[in-house]
Every structure is written in structure tokens, then in C-alpha cells.
Symmetry: C2
């Protein structure tokens, strides 16, 4: 019999998909350049030339038996070493190659990290607003997702609610900073308080609560700042990274789990992830892509466009009187809608060819998300439509 759980998932049509299909259809009518599609979180700048150059160099010069051969199940040792050295240079933590597990992007990283530090029935805590894919990521492992309501003041962490939610059943906490959908960058203060809370609760329950830190937007931080590195504050951290955004290669599916050298089980967690791989059919990312990534591990695309776009949107939303926390990074902004029902708000925006996503599925009801991974020229053209939409729909502001 066909599996009924997965079959039922097909009929749940998401609002995001509906909006995205609308945008595509509308694009066919009026030209896609005239649809201001803020629905999709896809990088809008090309990969750095160095990535393709590294791949071509490998294809031209390497022995194909070595280049395309099986990676060890824990990942290519040279690749792991390069990632470890890069992390040590940048964050001062002495990772060894034994602490690095190359994965198919952040999704693959989180799939392994979750299975390594939870058991069936354990709870995994996330903080709203959160990427809705966390729900299947967590719930298909046998663990259960629990969410902590948002700190709507500044989209850091609602610590009063977190304190309540961190019961004995919680095996791991999954954070995402810089954050999709809010654009918030957790501050050092936030990460310090979180570490203190995890230490205190771990001591109280007599077992280590793990921190899984999902950081695909780590390199997209504004105002010349840097994202504080969560693992620096709490050793029991599995850092999940993807190069999808920093190198603009989301289709290549390359990332890693980095296990802090002082993490409980740091000697066994990577070999365990190789065992987990056997069951879920992961078995390492592409060897060519692993090696090309290792050659360009410290490069990034030209990411400045996202900050330019953020400022244009932030200033316009603010000028129009919307309540909005200024993003510290990512390519998302999440203002409060001008009516309680953000789905209605987003539907009305469609009349102006503005495609926003209601943030209800991110557990931020009443807010909407705009993904500004677009050419700045298009964002500039959208501003007039945003002004007309808000003024004509919600009165002069």
C-alpha cells in the first residue's frame, strides 16, 4: 500500500506555493519583470567565479578515479580538514577534521544532527518565528517539535517562555540565526543568556541539552557587523551550515555539521552521523562538489545587494507606518501587516503585483515576510507599488 502519511502531505496546499503559482501565472500575463515576487528565498547573485574555476580545475587535472570515487562515509578527509581550519581561523575553536561531517546542504546537516542527539519521543525546541520546514525535519525523526512564542519586540528569544518550555523532555534546541523569516541576528547577549539557560537546565535535569545551530545566512549580515558564533557560547553545539547562500549554489546541496570539540560525544557524533546516513540514503554529498567547496570555503558571492535592498524596503515600510524590526542580516524582512489577518493583507497586495508571504506558517501570525533576493532595480520599482497598495488599501499614511 502506498504510504498514507506521505500521500496526505500532497493535498496540503501551502499558501506560499499558492502565491508562488499566482506569481508565475501573473508573470505570463504581464511579464515576470513586472511581478514583484517577494515570495522566494533564492539567492539572486551568481556564485563567485572561483567556485566554477575550482570545479573545472578539478575536472581537468585530478585523476577521475580519485575525483569521482567514493568518499569515506564520514566525508573526504582533506575537505574536512579545510573546513575545520577555516572555522578555527574565523571563530577560534580548534575543530579537527574528525569534528566535521559534510552534508547535502543544511537540510542534510539538520537531518543528521537531530537524529544523533535525540531519541523517539524527545522534544526539540524551536523559537518562533522559525522556518516551517523544521516541522517535517524534526517530526519525521521520531522526536516532537515544540515551539516557543516569538519575542515580537525584536525577534531575539522570548526567554520567559523559553524557561517554561525547557522541560525535562527537551533533548535539543534548534536555533536559526541570522533568522529566516525575521532577518534578526541573535546578539552576543542573546546567545549568552541562551547558553546560561541551557547549562542551568542541563544541570537541573542531569543530562546535556544539545544546541543545534542552523546558520545558512551566517555570511549575510549588515552594517559591517558579524554574526556572533553560537558554538562559542555553548560547547554542546552542532553547527549546521550550508553554502547555498554564501556561495549562491543552493542546487549543489553542500554544507556540513561541525561538532564543537568540547561537545558531549564529540568523539563519536561524526561516526554516528555516518551510521545515520546508511538508513536515510544520504551517503555524502557529491565528491566533486565537496572538493570544489573546500577550495572556496572562505569565498562568498558579492552579497552587498541584500543590504541595499533591505534598506530600501525598511525605509519604505517605516515611512508608511508599518511596524518592522530592522533586519540585521539574511535576505528577509518581516513587517507587521496592517490588518490582523495577514493572509488577507497578502491577498490584497497581489492586486498591486506584490507577492508577500503571510508569516502564519512561520508562527508569526499577523506578520508577513518579504524575501528581497532580487535585483535592486526591481526592488526600486516595487516601492511605488508598495506605497500605492498601502495608501489605497489602508488609507493615507
Amino acid at each position: 500500500m502506498i504510504n498514507p502519511v506521505y500521500r496526505a502531505m500532497l493535498s496540503r496546499k501551502s499558501v506560499i506555493r499558492e502565491l508562488s503559482e499566482y506569481a508565475t501565472a501573473r508573470g505570463k500575463e504581464i511579464g515576470y519583470e513586472n511581478v514583484f515576487d517577494f515570495s522566494l528565498g533564492n539567492p539572486s547573485v551568481p556564485a563567485p567565479a572561483s567556485f566554477a574555476e575550482a570545479a573545472v580545475r578539478l575536472l581537468r587535472n585530478e585523476d577521475p578515479m580519485r575525483l569521482h570515487g567514493y568518499s569515506p562515509s564520514v566525508g573526504d578527509p582533506d575537505v574536512k580538514e579545510k573546513v575545520a581550519r577555516s572555522l578555527e581561523r574565523r571563530f577560534g575553536i580548534p575543530y579537527q577534521k574528525e569534528h566535521i561531517f559534510p552534508t547535502s546542504g543544511a537540510a542534510g546537516a539538520i537531518a543528521h544532527a537531530l537524529r544523533a542527539v535525540t531519541e523517539t519521543g524527545d522534544e526539540v525546541l524551536v523559537f518562533a518565528p522559525y522556518f516551517p520546514e523544521y516541522i517535517p525535519y524534526i517530526n519525521t525523526t521520531g522526536a516532537v517539535m515544540r515551539s516557543v512564542p516569538a519575542d515580537t519586540e525584536n525577534f531575539q528569544i522570548n526567554f520567559d517562555a523559553a524557561e517554561q518550555a525547557l522541560t525535562e523532555r527537551v533533548a535539543a534546541v534548534l536555533i536559526n540565526t541570522p533568522n529566516n523569516p525575521s532577518g534578526a541576528v541573535y546578539t552576543e547577549e542573546t546567545l549568552r543568556r541562551l547558553a546560561e539557560l541551557l547549562r542551568r537546565k542541563s544541570a537541573q535535569y542531569g543530562r546535556t541539552i544539545f544546541l543545534i545551530s542552523d546558520e545558512p545566512y551566517r555570511e549575510i549580515v549588515f552594517d559591517g557587523k558579524k554574526q556572533a558564533y553560537p558554538a562559542s557560547f555553548y560547547p554542546h553545539t552542532l553547527t549546521c551550515y550550508s553554502f547555498s547562500k554564501s556561495l549562491s549554489i543552493p542546487g549543489e546541496r553542500i554544507g556540513y555539521v561541525a561538532v564543537h570539540p568540547d561537545c558531549e560525544g564529540s568523539d563519536v557524533l561524526v561516526p554516528m552521523m555516518a551510521q545515520i546516513s546508511r538508513g536515510i540514503g544520504h551517503n555524502c554529498p557529491s565528491s566533486l562538489i565537496q572538493q570544489a567547496m573546500a577550495e572556496t570555503v572562505d569565498d562568498t558571492s558579492d552579497l552587498r545587494v541584500y543590504e541595499t535592498n533591505m534598506n530600501l524596503l525598511y525605509d519604505t515600510f517605516t515611512e508608511l507606518g508599518l511596524r518592522v524590526v530592522r533586519p540585521g542580516g539574511t535576505f528577509y524582512i518581516m513587517p507587521q501587516a496592517l490588518e490582523e489577518d495577514s493572509i488577507a493583507f497578502c491577498r490584497k497586495a497581489l492586486k498591486y503585483d506584490l507577492v508577500f508571504v503571510p508569516a502564519d506558517s512561520f508562527e508569526a501570525p499577523g506578520y508577513f515576510r518579504a524575501a528581497y533576493c532580487l535585483a535592486t532595480e526591481k526592488v526600486e520599482r516595487s516601492l511605488d507599488a508598495i506605497r500605492r497598495f498601502v495608501r489605497e488599501t489602508y488609507g493615507t499614511r
Copy 2:
């Protein structure tokens, strides 16, 4: 807490690994070229030049945004179309792109196929001898593996035992032809009888029993023959393929599931596999590798070496009086050991620097597997060691 199930998997040291470590250590003593390592099933011929050329062409000429961008979760439509057309050309089945799900190799393919057509508690039937990774592949889905004892006469299917084992609890049957470890190629007659059995049992139980056909060795068939295509005999077939062996690119992790157009649920199975992906973090193979594969979908490495090697070994084992079914394909041969305890047999072979694998873990106790994906020159040099080993250990033959 660290997951105890995966942690426990670390301490189970496999005989294969132990032998492989011995071979590596011995290689450091006497030179690896003098160790006749028949333990590992890694392709020994390079990828066809066309694969690297296709990848370089894509990297040089394609828009990086398109080339490295997200694939749709069901896979790149152009890639799927090319795979469908290739399968139709070769096997006459009118696959559409909607029936093709690109995966990270055969492991990824089987992980998705199993989850799509089974539920927790269902049984999945395999036929001994079988690839031991099937155990974690199946058991981590929530289904339970059951095995049917081998047909030791010719390593086709033991139909009397299969008839017994195909109870109402069996949701799917997983076959592997050409077969690892036996090298057997299921004949048309075998596939016809299997299809008849599945039809009869499906009718009896009032539900479709699915066939999952794992075919990574499809292109390595000897004596100018072809592997009969299992899906041609039974429509409820999910064909799981990997290009690891045909293109000699095991590290690139590229394969597919092809759902027969007349399979029950053929309209929903691929979208369901995209849903399954969300939970296990698969999310498509590398986009570059998908596209390079599509350009070379009908190419293969020069695979003739495997047949040459097989004949050398088959003739030598036969000449020495070992009972051995002549392989029809793959790069494996599985003779009967000269004593009941094949582990003892393989340990004694080590004294002659011959590394064979006892087939106990393939559920063929008393047999051993030799993987002859080696340079022919090395296989030729091994023959004298094989002769000395057998004659000196088990008497003149």
C-alpha cells in the same frame, strides 16, 4: 542524550572492515600492489571522458544562477525528461518525466522507494544472497526486513521459500540484479515467475505488492547479453538506479527512482518522494551532477575489464575444484569455501595476501565473495597465490 541506537552501531565491527583494514596495513608492509585485495566493490575503470567534458561545458557556458540554482523538489525537469527518454528507448516503457525522481545514488533511491510504498510494521522481502546494507536501509524506515534463503543451485530465486515468505504482511519485495554478491543475472524466466507470484499474492491479499528493483550493475553483463528489465515483467515496479558503476562515479551520488507508468500510484509516487525528502534531508542530488549525468545518460565507462577478470577467476576456481556459479554480470564472484566456516577460509587466505570476504553477512554462509574490480594485471598475478593457497591449505587438487 546521544542516540543509543546509532551509538551502538559504532561498536559492531564488521568482518569486511577488519579485512579491509588488514589489507591496508599489509599494503604498507609489502606494497599495496602486492596485496590481492578482493574485498572492495569500487569501480576500477575511470569515468568516460564525456562526463567531465559535460560538466566542464556546463560550468563554462551555463548561467551560474540556473546551473547552481535549486532544483524543484521532484528533480530538474530536463534531466527527468532525458532519463525517461533513455529508458523508453532501451526498454520500450513510455516513462514520462513525472515518473522519474533523481536521487543521491541507489542508496537515496531505495530510501525513498521504501518509504513511499511501506508503512511502519510492514515487511519487505529480500532474497539471499543480498547486499547487507539492505538491513539498515529497510529497518530504519519502520518496516522490517525478511529474507528468503538462497537458491544455491544457481543464485536465481528460491521460489518454494519465496512462496512461504510472501505473507500478507509483505508490502514490497526488494531485488538486486545483476546481484551483489553472487554476480547472478536474473533470467527472463526468473522475472516472469516472480511477477506471476507477486500478481497471485496481490490478488489473494487484495492489495498490490510492490517490486523495488535495485539495478546499479545493470550495464555490467557478460557474454554479450543484457539484463532483462524487471519492470517489463511487473508494472508495480520502482526501479532504483545508480550511475556509480556504469559511469564509474560512485562519489558523485547520482541515480534515480523510475516509477513504471502503470504502477499503482504512479501519479503520486514521485511527488510523495519529494515529501519524503523533506524529512530525511535529501532534497535532490547536486544540480551540476544531475545535468552532467543527463548529458551522458547513455554512456558508460569501458566496462570490459570486469568480464576479463571474471573469466580468469572463474576458470582458476573451477580448475581448483571450488563450486562456483559463473557470474552473468557485476564485478563479483561468490564461490563456495573449501571448509564450512568461510570466515576461517578467508583468514587462511590472508596468509597468501589474498583478501576475500566471507559471505555470511550476505546470508550465504559457507561462501565467500571476491570483488574483481581490479586491474587485470593484478588479477593475473593473484592466480598463482590462489593456487598455492588452495593446494597448500586444502591439499592437491
